[in-house]
């Protein structure tokens, strides 16, 4: 009797099914990225006021002469039609060029380059803490479901969900850095300094993934195959780690991907709290100074990271999909 659904029912077999799925997701990600680039560009092209005037004002020239305005308009390429300006900006972006900062007149890309690494380190730390803390607390809460440890974790996650990352950061600075003398309030962008702000980031975003992981693990512990594994002599711990956890990875990964959005947003504000030399603090400075090309570029980068994170999550859950794993 032939067996199998899903992957084996796909014409061409499992490898083709996987390829189709991956290409589909990649295509989707690219399309969304394209849409986001249009959105970002439109936001700034159609912002109220005259872009040339704004650019000059950002440099401190508040009452420009008609000559200065005209030359600025020419520099910014404002004479060309909208669609042309979008595409020239997009092509430039694909080559790594995002125009010039209104304020410094230097290429945006240079400044971005030097600030990228510190932000990546901070975000990585935050992600690490979020995944580890959410994973561990989810497992503990599921193992001791509805008993004291579970309730305690529930209380802690409610508090974490209610505490914005910048407040945690401020509290850390007040009580850990200043009172206990551990760590730095002015981060230098390195890995060691990224630990404290990373904790602040991770704590703020772990609530939903922890809850999702706990529920999926409980579903696994109460499932039919868990009962059968029990009948074969498996202990509850073994069932949790060896059976329930792998089957809970998919929903957990999706919850982490969604939390990645708030992680990215949190990174921006936490960089302000810790004076972190990254893209987030640069974004804030640029928003305050109305330096639009920089804001455009960083917004696009942030969007790209989020889309990448979602894509990564989808690929990971594909790896844990039984239909993708079966060998023929």
């Amino acid at each position: 009797m032939t067996a199998g659904t899903g992957a084996l029912a796909w014409p061409g077999g499992r490898a083709r099914w996987l390829a189709a799925k991956v290409t589909g997701r990649l295509g989707q990600a690219l399309l969304t990225m394209l849409g986001a680039s249009i959105l970002v560009w439109l936001l700034f092209a159609f912002a109220p006021g005259d872009p040339a005037q704004r650019a000059l004002a950002a440099r401190g020239i508040l009452a420009p002469t008609p000559g200065e305005l005209a030359s600025e308009r020419h520099t910014l390429g404002l004479g060309h039609p909208v669609v042309y300006r979008y595409f020239s900006w997009l092509v430039g972006a694909l080559h790594g060029s995002f125009g010039r900062s209104y304020i410094t007149q230097l290429p945006v890309a240079t400044e971005l380059g030097s600030r990228l690494a510190p932000t990546l380190r901070l975000a990585a730390m935050g992600l690490l803490f979020m995944i580890v803390l959410a994973g561990l607390s989810g497992m503990l809460a599921a193992f001791a479901a509805n008993r004291a440890p579970d309730l305690a974790i529930r209380v802690v996650t409610v508090i974490c969900a209610a505490t914005p990352s910048f407040i945690t950061g401020l509290f850390i600075i007040q009580f850990v850095v200043i009172r206990l003398g551990i760590g730095q309030a002015l981060g230098n962008g390195g890995w060691a300094d990224a630990i404290l702000p990373g904790v602040a980031l991770g704590l703020a975003s772990l609530a939903v993934p922890a809850r999702v992981f706990r529920q999926s693990l409980i579903d696994g512990l109460e499932s039919y195959y868990a009962l059968v594994a029990h009948s074969r002599g498996a202990s509850k711990l073994r069932i949790l780690l060896r059976h329930a956890a792998p089957n809970a990875i998919t929903p957990f990964t999706h919850a982490i991907a969604v939390a990645a959005a708030s992680l990215i947003g949190g990174t921006v504000i936490v960089e302000a709290v810790f004076n972190w030399p990254g893209l987030g603090s640069y974004l804030i400075q640029s928003v305050q100074a109305r330096d639009l090309p920089v804001v455009q570029a960083i917004t696009l980068l942030a969007t790209a990271s989020y889309i990448l994170a979602s894509l990564a999550a989808d690929l990971i859950s594909l790896a844990f999909d039984p239909h993708a794993r079966g060998r023929s």
Binding site: M1, T2, A3, G4, T5, G6, L8, S223, Y224, Y225, L227, V228, A229, H230, S231, R232, G233, A234, S235, R238, H243, P246, N247, F320, P322, H323, R325, G326, R327, S328
Partner: protein, 338 residues
């Protein structure tokens, strides 16, 4: 082949493999699911436990493995060899599971971890006890149960196997360690009818002592040595399978047999009414409300098992022997059909 414990094939060992004494099981919700069950199971024999849904048979099957939900009250004793599952410490009961007592569940499609290959699931009882099985053990056991190309198929995931094959794998998992007892809880209910018989044959072919739970009296009767009919948490008839099927002594057994479709005998006679609620004490014979032979004294006292059947009117009623075509007979490992 590595053995997780020193137990040999189920035929050996003195004394009954399973002995239940006055077993009472009450769930946390107050439902008194098993109300005083006593029987013993000799080595190598197969006992078929038959009844409607809700009669307590699945509860009993789970109880033998110590798999009842927490806060369930268990009275009496469940002796598996020398261990009383009803009151032994958790560690001792867990030591039994998988290696001394095997379990075959009802739904093979859901019995397997979707992310673990079938061969690993078959070896679960060893891995759970941190024993490394010899390479190829699972393949050997699967082949014995009729799976072709077991090396390659064993590395596949459950969704790539059919229901019938998975149930064979479940039997392999339950029997691979040469347990003293296999408990099979409705092993054919979720299987296509044409495959059901081969599954039961496979279970008997392992040669182990079997407690076979089902709602299908005719099917089970053909593959068991003895049959016990359960109703409302008690055993109402208990005897050799051929005798019970040919000459039932309890009105409920007769009703069960009559309710099965038989070509050439007209429409099956369905049993009217419902089983009694088990969250309240029962007055008198639990079957009396639906029994065609009930008289007033049936509602006064609950009859005990006497002469293979629990009916106070045993000597008085004459149940028409049912003309049934002879079945394939009881299958036993290494033996001819009887």
């Amino acid at each position: 082949m590595s053995r997780a414990n020193g137990q040999a094939n189920g035929q050996a060992g003195p004394g009954p493999v399973l002995r239940l004494t006055d077993l009472h099981i009450t769930y946390r919700t107050g439902v008194h699911a098993v109300r005083g069950v006593t029987f013993s199971l000799a080595p190598g024999k197969c006992l078929g436990l038959v009844g409607e849904s809700g009669c307590g048979k699945s509860t009993l099957a789970l109880a033998v493995l110590g798999l009842l939900p927490p806060k369930t009250t268990v009275g009496g004793s469940i002796l598996v060899g020398e261990t009383d599952v009803a009151c032994a410490p958790r560690r001792a009961v867990r030591a039994l599971r998988g290696t001394v007592v095997g379990f075959v569940a009802q739904d093979p499609m859901r019995s397997f971890d979707p992310l673990m290959c079938v061969a690993s699931s078959v070896e679960e009882a060893w891995r759970a006890k941190r024993i490394r099985p010899e390479p190829g053990t699972a393949a050997r056991v699967l082949e014995r149960l009729g799976i072709t190309d077991p090396q390659r198929r064993g590395r596949q995931l459950p969704h790539q196997w059919s229901g019938g094959m998975l149930q064979r794998a479940a039997i392999a998992a339950a029997s691979a360690h040469h347990p003293r007892l296999i408990v099979a809880d409705e092993p054919t209910t979720a299987i296509d009818a044409d495959r059901a018989e081969s599954i039961l044959a496979a279970i008997r072919a392992t040669g182990t002592t079997v407690l076979l739970v089902s709602h299908d009296l005719n099917l089970i009767g053909r593959y068991s040595d003895d049959v016990a009919i359960m109703y409302a948490g008690k055993i109402v008839e208990h005897g050799p399978a051929r005798r019970v099927l040919a000459r039932p002594r309890h009105p409920y057994t007769a009703a069960l047999l009559a309710a099965a479709p038989r070509p050439g005998h007209g429409l099956p006679a369905a049993l009217p009414g419902d089983p009694p609620r088990l969250d309240r004490p029962i007055q008198g014979c639990s079957f009396a409300p639906r029994c065609g032979f009930a008289v007033s004294r049936c509602t006064e006292a609950e009859p005990e098992l006497h002469d293979d059947a629990a009916c106070c009117r045993l000597a008085e009623i004459e149940l028409t022997p049912l003309a049934r075509p002879a079945g394939p007979g009881v299958r036993r490992a290494g033996g001819a059909s009887t």
